[in-house]
Every structure is written in structure tokens, then in C-alpha cells.
């Protein structure tokens, strides 16, 4: 197990390195940099450009250096917890992003748990009652969830909640808590607001997960050991719990790798629609205004979140299933 852990973490390093190169290239690709568009904007408004400040910023953030040098500074800075400077907000990125990242992580985790809670029983029901009306009905619901764009569902939910509950559910907390320090009351308020984005983001992932659990369990149920156990008179409930479910469990944990990118993608766009204080709206802004370090940090953060999430699911899988940790990662 220990060696598996080490090996798994070591293979993560090159992946993250390549991702960081990719992110850096992406944020550098738009022609010009933020300072140039900033100067142009100031000049078009007829304001004088503070040459000194521009020069200082250019030097301070190494915009005058070559690309590889800039990349190197950026990456080493990130390792030391310095994510660069947000031109738009005129603050270090670290101060801008604040608890946005925590909230993104929170939403992702809660969404995954929600998806599990919904998908697991439904998947089992669909597999054990294959081709029944329940199976068809639930699969159909799942498909509708899969096919409805998240952002639209978010809009409709916003509207319905407004009409039926009379609450404004945009955002993740009541207005009085936005700048308040974290307290128990604030946590409760966030949790009360959390369910709508979680349901909205969860719908698409749930459908896919139900289908995969169903397919997996059906494969398992057709195997001979199930027939044998049944022939020996094992009660169906016990049979399910003892054998096929345990194997489906493994897959269930491993599926986070499929689920996580989807959840994070969904979370970004839903956050824009519902104006949640997560990374979504700010990432969109940063991308549009070429605030490169802010955008880069967000992209990097989302990628790291995915990679680490997959790592955790792999480790959980290895803990659950001795075959994985003994054979290594030839999945």
C-alpha cells in the first residue's frame, strides 16, 4: 500500500507539470498582455498613464522577461504560495481568490456525495429490476437530467424558488453574511443555500453514474457465482450485499475520476448563472479581461482539484480492493 501510494504520487508530478505548461501557454496566447490593454484603455479615456507604475508592474511581474523565464517564475512562485498579481483587482491573486476556492471545493464535494446518494440506490434498483417500469422511468428521468443544459436548469430553479419560496437564492449566503467572518451561523446559512446549486450540478453526473452502475451490476449479476449462490438458496438481499454490491462498490469509488471533471465543469457555469461566490464568475471575468495570473491560478487550481480528487479515489480503491494495490496501476 505504501509503495502504491508513493508511485501514485510520483506519477502525479509530471501530469501536473504538463498541465502547468498548458495553462501557462493558454493564458499567454492572447495577443498583448493586460498592461497593454490597460494602457490603451486609459489613453482612450484621455487619462494620463502612470509610466512609472506600468514600468514597476512590468518589472515586478517579469512581463519584460522571456517566456520560459516567466513560466519558471510563475511555477516556482506557485510552489511558495505566491500566485502572482491580479491586474484587475490590483491585489495579489491570493487575496482576491480568498474563500472562493474553499467554496468551490465544498460545492464539488457535496455534489459528489449528493450524486452518490441518489445514484447508488437507483442504479441498484434499475439493475435488479431490469426492464421494469421503474427501471424505464428512472432511466428516463436520468436521461432528461443528462440532456438538460445545467445553466438552464439553474435559471429555471432560480425562478421556481423565487415564485414558490419567495427567497432569492442567487449566491451562496444571505447578504448579511457575505463579508462576515466565518461563524457557525454563517456555515448554517451557506448549507441552507447550497442545495440548489448542488441539485443543479448533480443532475447531469447522476444520470451517467446511474447508467454505469446499472451496466456494471448487470454484468456482475450474470456471472456464474451469482447463479451458484442462488442455487444454494442464499436469500436475494444477502446475496446482493455479500457479492455483486461489493464489486460494484469498487467501481463506484473509481468512478470519481469520471465524475469530478464533469462536476467541476458544471459548477463553473452554474456559478456564473446563479452568481455564486465560487471560482466560476471570476474565472470568466479574468479570461475576458486577460487578467492572466488570476485566470491561470483558477485554471491550475481546478486541474489540481481534479487530479487530487482522482488520486484520492484511486487510493480509496486500492484500500478497498487488494487486486489494485498488489498488481499496480494497470487499470
Amino acid at each position: 500500500m505504501f509503495f502504491y501510494l508513493i508511485r501514485r504520487i510520483l506519477t502525479m508530478i509530471p501530469t501536473l507539470l504538463i498541465i502547468s505548461v498548458l495553462v501557462f501557454v493558454i493564458i499567454q496566447l492572447p495577443p498583448g498582455d493586460y498592461l497593454e490593454s490597460y494602457i490603451a484603455e486609459l489613453q482612450s479615456q484621455g487619462e494620463s498613464v502612470n509610466e512609472e507604475k506600468i514600468q514597476y508592474l512590468r518589472k515586478e511581474y517579469g512581463l519584460d522577461k522571456s517566456m520560459p523565464e516567466q513560466y519558471f517564475t510563475w511555477v516556482t512562485g506557485m510552489l511558495q504560495g505566491d500566485f502572482g498579481y491580479s491586474f484587475e483587482y490590483e491585489l495579489p491573486v491570493r487575496e482576491v481568490i480568498g474563500d472562493k476556492m474553499i467554496l468551490t471545493v465544498l460545492i464539488s464535494i457535496v455534489t459528489i456525495i449528493f450524486t452518490w446518494i441518489i445514484a447508488f440506490p437507483i442504479g441498484i434498483y434499475s439493475a435488479t429490476h431490469q426492464y421494469s417500469w421503474g427501471d424505464y422511468g428512472l432511466s428516463f428521468l436520468g436521461f432528461i437530467g443528462l440532456a438538460t443544459p445545467n445553466f438552464l436548469l439553474a435559471l429555471i430553479m432560480l425562478y421556481l424558488a423565487n415564485v414558490y419560496f419567495g427567497t432569492s437564492i442567487g449566491g451562496l449566503m444571505a447578504p448579511e453574511y457575505i463579508d462576515a467572518p466565518w461563524s457557525w451561523a454563517k456555515v448554517k446559512d451557506v448549507l441552507a443555500h447550497l442545495w440548489i446549486p448542488v441539485v443543479v450540478i448533480g443532475t447531469s453526473g447522476t444520470a451517467g453514474m446511474i447508467r454505469r452502475i446499472r451496466a456494471n451490476l448487470l454484468d456482475e449479476l450474470q456471472k456464474q457465482y451469482v447463479t451458484t449462490a442462488r442455487a444454494k438458496g442464499l436469500p436475494p438481499g444477502k446475496l446482493m450485499r455479500k457479492y455483486p454490491l461489493r464489486i460494484a462498490m469498487n467501481f463506484f469509488v473509481a468512478d470519481v475520476g469520471n465524475l469530478l471533471p464533469q462536476v467541476i465543469s458544471g459548477a463553473e457555469i452554474v456559478a456564473v448563472v446563479m452568481s455564486l461566490p465560487t471560482t466560476g464568475p471570476m474565472l470568466l471575468d479574468a479570461l475576458q479581461s486577460q487578467d492572466m495570473y488570476l485566470a491561470g491560478t483558477f485554471l491550475m487550481f481546478l486541474a489540481v482539484l481534479t487530479v487530487v480528487g482522482v488520486l484520492i479515489s484511486d487510493l480509496a480503491l486500492a484500500a478497498l480492493d487488494p487486486r489494485v494495490r498488489l498488481q499496480g496501476d494497470n487499470r
Binding site: A147, F151, L155, L158, S265, L287, F298
Partner: protein
């Protein structure tokens, strides 16, 4: 005659009669691979229906100009944000055929909303096979023939109008042209990428395989939407809408090829070990012949299935990007561009018909999913 006497057939005995196949069985055993797949697909009713729906949609985008009653940009200043109009058949108890009533609009000075009231005195019959807005068919041939037109001296907005008084029904029809083709073009590009890279990885193995595998892993470990957002933010603002269209298609395809490449690679690796490949090799077949004659037919059906399953994610991706304002730009109109106008909750509350394009998105996504499922089940007819 003795009652206990046994019946003995005096027909000549054919020892092979048990092994002989009925004509139906013979048909099955002699059928080609594609024939078997077709039979198997036909049994999957939902897939067949979905396939027909898709076929209808793709045929209809060829004749958008003719089917839609208005042009894409025909606006009516007097009918902004008009709700969908009801088509009626009976006027004062007598049958008139499909018709609509004229509507008049007043501004409600308390809510500042336009209120449309129907004037039920005179039925205005809808015209069919008629001449209306003139258009250039596919930008080439002038014409003004429409399948369905608004009544003389009146309007007909079956799905309402938007903020410029443009007919939503016509706009959804025109939007289908872009939304549906973006999926096809995108899948064609990602197919090319996927087959090339997956094929190289599967055929050469070794370090080529290693690099391709790692690249796929990296791309897959990135959440799609933020990356799409970042890439489409790169497209220069001064590009023409058509260039942006192709740019977005390429961006969508660039992240989508990984699934196909994986499928190609694993199939290629598995099929290479099959006995018939070894046999062909031993008989002196060249690699080119082995690939085209023995390997490709073996997995092309799987490829088509997995391609049709990845079209929906592209269509959804385009819709999401355009909705956020990062994707296509007017005058190019896709369903996402149409939905971009429904970004805010007031629209959902006041003009809910503006979110109608999403119904088409859902239908197309569902149809592709069911059709792809059917294809995947049918792809291996020998199982």
C-alpha cells in the same frame, strides 16, 4: 390393419437433415457484418425512433429557408416580446382551417410591460405553399417560396418573438443549422485526430504510445468547460463570426478526441492479437492490407457508435459557451446564441418562450444518446 403397426416412412433417409439449415437460418449465417448490425439495430426500437428524429432534423436543416415562415433577421418593431400565438381551427363554431387572430398591443403603464390582446372578430387563415420573405437559398439561389407563411396583412408568431420582434420559430430553425452542423464538423475533426493518434499509439506502441497516453491523461484530467472557456477567450475579438464559428468547432474538437483515440488504440491492440491477423501475416499480407482489410472493418462500427455518443457533449459545449458569451456571435445564430438572450431570471419570469430553444437541445441530445446506445449494442453483432 393391425392397430399396433408402426408407421415407417419410406422416404429415403438423409443423415444430414438435422444439420441442414432452414432458409431463415441460412440467411442469418450468410449475412454480412453490416447486415447483421442493421438487423440488431432495428430491434432496438428507441434507437430507430431516435435515428429517424435525427434524420428529420438533419434533412430539415437543408431546407431551413423554405420551412421557416420568416427570415432569420426579419424583425417587427410593433411585436417585440410577443408571446406565442395560438393556432385555431374553429371561428364562432364553424370550421375555418388553421388560422390566427390579429393582435393589438398596449403598454401597461403600471408594469411597463407590453400586453397583447387578441381581436377575435376576423379569422386570419395561415397560408401554405406561399410566397413570403425573400431569401437566398444557402446564400446562392434567390427565392421567396415558403412552406408556411403568416396570413395576409397579419403576423403569425407560433413561438413568440424576441426583443427585436423576430420570430422565434424561424430563429430556432435557423439556429438548428449551426448547432447541428457544429456537432458534425467537430466530430469529423476529432475523429481524424482520434484515429490518427490512437492508431499511431496502438500500431507502433513503445514511446509513441507512452506520449499519446500521457497526453490523453492530462487532457482528461482537466475539467472540460473551464478549458473550453479559456481557449475560446483566446480567439481574437476582430475575427469575423464565420471564423469564430470554425475556431469554436476546432476548440471543441481539440478536447474531444481523447475518448476516440483510446477506443481506437485499445481495439487495435486487441485485434492485432487475433488469430486471423496472424494468419494473414503468415500468408504474407502487407501491413496496409492487414489494417484496411482485417483491422478496420473490425472496429469501424465501434468507432461510429462512440462518435455518435460524443456528438451531444459538443452540442452542449457550444450551447454553454455561446450562452456565456464566449462562443458564437450574432449574426451567426445557434441555439446557444438564442439562449444567450435568456440569461437573466427576469426573462424566464416575463418571456418564458425565449428559453424554448432548450427543448430542441434536449431532444437532440436524447436522440443522439439513444441512437448511439443502439449503435453500440449493434456494433458487435456476433456477441
Amino acid at each position: 390393419m393391425d392397430k399396433n403397426e408402426h408407421f415407417v416412412s419410406d422416404a429415403p433417409f438423409d443423415p444430414h437433415s438435422i444439420e441442414q439449415l432452414t432458409p431463415e437460418q441460412e440467411k442469418v449465417y450468410l449475412a454480412s457484418q453490416w447486415q447483421l448490425m442493421w438487423w440488431k439495430l432495428k430491434r432496438h426500437r428507441l434507437a430507430v425512433i431516435s435515428g429517424l428524429v435525427l434524420l428529420c432534423m438533419y434533412v430539415s436543416i437543408l431546407f431551413v429557408e423554405i420551412i421557416s415562415p420568416y427570415n432569420l433577421h426579419t424583425g417587427n418593431d410593433d411585436a417585440t416580446y410577443a408571446p406565442p400565438q395560438r393556432v385555431r381551427l374553429f371561428h364562432e363554431g364553424s370550421f375555418v382551417g388553421p388560422f390566427v387572430y390579429d393582435r393589438s398591443v398596449q403598454m401597461n403603464m403600471e408594469t411597463f410591460l407590453r400586453e397583447y390582446t387578441e381581436d377575435t372578430t376576423e379569422p386570419k387563415p395561415i397560408r401554405f405553399f406561399c410566397s413570403g420573405d425573400s431569401y437566398k437559398f444557402w446564400g446562392l439561389v434567390e427565392g421567396n417560396f415558403h412552406l408556411i407563411c403568416p396570413p395576409e396583412n397579419s403576423d403569425m408568431y407560433l413561438l413568440g418573438t424576441d426583443r427585436l420582434g423576430r420570430d422565434m420559430f424561424s430563429r430556432i430553425m435557423y439556429g438548428a443549422r449551426i448547432s447541428l452542423t457544429i456537432g458534425l464538423i467537430g466530430i469529423a475533426i476529432s475523429f481524424a485526430f482520434g484515429i490518427l493518434l490512437g492508431g499511431l499509439a496502438g500500431y507502433y506502441g513503445g514511446w509513441v504510445d507512452f506520449i499519446v497516453q500521457r497526453t490523453i491523461e492530462v487532457i482528461r484530467s482537466f475539467p472540460e468547460l473551464p478549458l473550453w472557456m479559456a481557449l475560446s477567450a483566446i480567439l481574437p475579438v476582430n475575427w469575423s463570426p464565420l471564423l469564430v464559428f470554425f475556431g469554436i468547432t476546432v476548440i471543441l474538437a481539440m478536447l474531444d478526441w481523447t475518448g476516440l483515440a483510446r477506443a481506437v488504440r485499445s481495439k487495435l491492440l486487441a485485434l492485432r492479437e487475433e488469430d486471423y491477423c496472424t494468419a494473414a501475416e503468415l500468408m504474407g499480407a502487407k501491413p496496409k492490407r492487414i489494417i484496411t482489410r482485417h483491422l478496420l472493418p473490425g472496429f469501424s462500427s465501434h468507432l461510429i457508435a462512440s462518435a455518435s455518443l460524443s456528438v451531444p457533449s459538443m452540442i452542449l459545449g457550444e450551447t454553454a459557451l455561446s450562452f456565456l458569451g464566449l462562443g458564437l456571435r450574432p449574426p451567426i445564430t445557434s441555439w446557444g446564441v438564442l439562449l444567450n438572450e435568456a440569461q437573466d431570471i427576469n426573462v424566464v419570469a416575463l418571456y418564458p418562450w425565449l428559453i424554448l430553444p432548450v427543448v430542441n437541445v434536449i431532444i437532440v441530445i436524447l436522440a443522439f444518446n439513444f441512437f448511439g446506445d443502439g449503435l453500440r449494442d449493434a456494433a458487435d453483432p456476433y456477441k
